[in-house]
């Protein structure tokens, strides 16, 4: 069995470490820039750069529609994309639990390669550590990414303005719901799958419609609801959304109904929240609906000058209530 699983020697820096890197990582991440030296050497880039890093410890590491490898690329690609930056290079650091199956590690690396290739980002350096049994859970991955910011892009969470439309690029809460069910603690069966997706091309397509996009943010931990409160605070504006306009997958609705969860607070890993002038909103949504990962994009609300810092919901029965503030006690380890 030991030949088929990761052991402590794989992390000791010797021959077995080299073998692991050759067989698993280099086999998948090979590119002229992938370094065998201490650091990758990259060509100079014109213009402003965006750089970000993110750690991934999702449990379980494999779930319907993806795994931690895909997630670790999407997370960083999407953070760069939200700044209007085309993802160029990434590095990844693995912490692998002793005993983790090598073939599963290959599956994870393959998912990373496939996802990175889809948006044209290159993995140029990596690191592998092996933790003793029980010191971590399966595999943890940290990715860091660099991207070049498009000159026409000027987005920030502080730029939402009264009159802006609020757009989501797809149905909300599917990733959180998928992980929740994958943990098997509720005894609920459903084929709901993650929304996890790399969104650079989604962002790029919006700039074909207009450069006038004020805020782009990916709704990860805490979901769309948390993003709305963040933007309401950062931009010092109010947000009014309409319950009936928020796209929610029927399966997610069912699970949320049973467990008393608010889909707006379930994590997404492939959804953006966009604030743009109202007169551009219809065209943006039309463009988004042509995209692979944003077919059910929708306008869910508007920005108001009043109720600064608050998110007001127009309910199914036509009343207005406050969307309760995010509580921070989220489901453990969703990303």
């Amino acid at each position: 069995m030991s030949n088929n699983t990761v052991n402590l020697a794989h992390g000791a820096g010797g021959k077995q470490t080299s073998e692991l890197i050759e067989k698993v990582f280099k086999a998948h991440f090979d590119s002229p820039e992938f370094t065998a030296d201490d650091a990758a050497v990259l060509p100079a880039v014109d213009g402003k750069l965006a750089m970000t890093t993110d750690g991934f410890i999702v449990s379980p590491w494999e779930f319907n529609g993806g795994n931690i490898g895909k997630l670790s690329i999407c997370g960083t690609v999407n953070d760069l994309s939200c700044m209007g930056a085309k993802p160029l290079y990434m590095t990844c650091a693995f912490v692998i639990e002793e005993g983790f199956p090598l073939d599963k590690l290959e599956e994870i690396a393959a998912a990373m390669e496939k996802t990175a290739a889809e948006v044209g980002v290159k993995i140029v350096a990596g690191d592998t550590k092996v933790a003793g049994k029980g010191q971590c859970d399966g595999v943890f991955i940290t990715t860091t990414g660099v991207g070049r910011i498009m000159e026409k892009a000027h987005t920030s969470g502080s730029l939402a303005k009264p009159g802006d439309a609020v757009i989501v690029t797809g149905d909300v809460g599917r990733h959180g719901c998928t992980i929740l069910l994958a943990r098997g603690e509720y005894g609920i069966e459903s084929d709901v799958d993650t929304d996890c997706a790399p969104l650079w091309h989604t962002v790029e397509s919006m700039y074909e419609v207009t450069d006038d996009i004020h805020v782009i943010r990916d709704a990860t931990r805490g979901g769309v609801g948390t993003v709305l409160y963040e933007i309401a605070g950062q931009s010092n504006i109010g947000i009014r959304i309409k319950r009936e306009d928020i796209p929610v997958d029927e399966r997610v609705k069912g699970v949320c109904g049973m467990l008393g969860l608010e889909p707006l607070y379930l994590a997404c890993e492939g959804r953006l929240v966009i604030f743009a002038p109202a007169d551009k909103a219809e065209a943006l949504v039309a463009k988004l609906r042509e995209g692979k990962y944003s077919a059910n994009a929708a306008i869910i609300g508007t920005v108001t000058a009043e109720n600064a810092g608050k998110v007001v919901m127009e309910t199914e029965i036509g009343t207005q209530t406050l969307l309760p503030q995010p509580k921070g006690e989220l489901l453990p380890r969703i990303c």
Binding site: E185, G260, T315, E316, I317, T319, Q320, T321
Partner: protein, 348 residues
Amino acid sequence: MNESIRKAREIITGYSGRPLRIMEVCGTHTHEIFRIGLRKLLPESVELISGPGCPVCVTAVGFIDEACWLALEKGCVVCTFGDLIRVPGTEMSLAGARSEGAEVRPVYSPLDAVELAKADPDRQYVFLAVGFETTTPSACLAAEQAKAAGLKNFSLLTANKTMPNAYNALVGSADAFLYPGHVNAITGNAACKKLCEEKGVSGVVAGFTASELITAMAVTINLLQKDEPFFRNCYTRVVKDEGNPQAIALMNRVMEPCDSEWRGLGNIPMSGMKLRAEYADYDARLKFNMPEIKGRPNPACRCGDVLQGKCKPSDCKVFGKVCTPLHPVGACMVSDEGACAAYYQYSE
């Protein structure tokens, strides 16, 4: 907005008769009513009172003290629904006990606690069995499974409650009840019908979607104008007159009625469930020779009055000041289904 919601809205907003008091008994209803903003449609003459239907909220202070005693004095691993962990006891909550070294494990189902006990035979596991007819069957199933497996390290600390006798205790506090759909799905409607026929208590079984809730409210307001007692099932999608016979049979095999202490309402005769004598080995109070433990609620907290509809959460002096969801003084601020937590989260 569909036609039936529009119609229900008209009935509710158009009401101009005598003052009405309607009590939603169920904690999930309390939360959903706030979420959809139903209170905002009510004319001034209609008052909606949040009743004692959140299982965490009605759990007596003494029960938390008993759980802390088992965890700290007897070294038991206490398994519980997560909400209970932060409910204040006389001296401390289970979270407080945990910081003093007690092991407290949140579980989603009593059956998870049975599995934990099986996997760790050297330690004693106790499941805190709270809740109404909706959750009691799963606690009974856990006891049955533990007995069948001959487990020596698993027991239940019971504070299970049943609704019918609580309604009796609440007679007169409202003109009509919105009955908890989930409970009636198990128990059926006989007890509610009997209350209507024998004591003239009116009520409507309500579901949980926006459309179901607003419809139940409109039906209640409509029927109250006729001045004769009524019972209606507005949740026929799920609630059948006979309830769920398998779940009822399971409960009756494992448990039997007993008196029960409700936070705020005091002792209500025969409103609780305890393990039958055949399951004495699985009753934590007997197994660990527990002394009688009497809880003392924080005198500043008015959860008891809130649960009986005698005051609104905002009438309590500590509400929103020292008592918040992060630092609850009373049980009603802990659970999402508690009236105080709902008032707090949705207050503008």
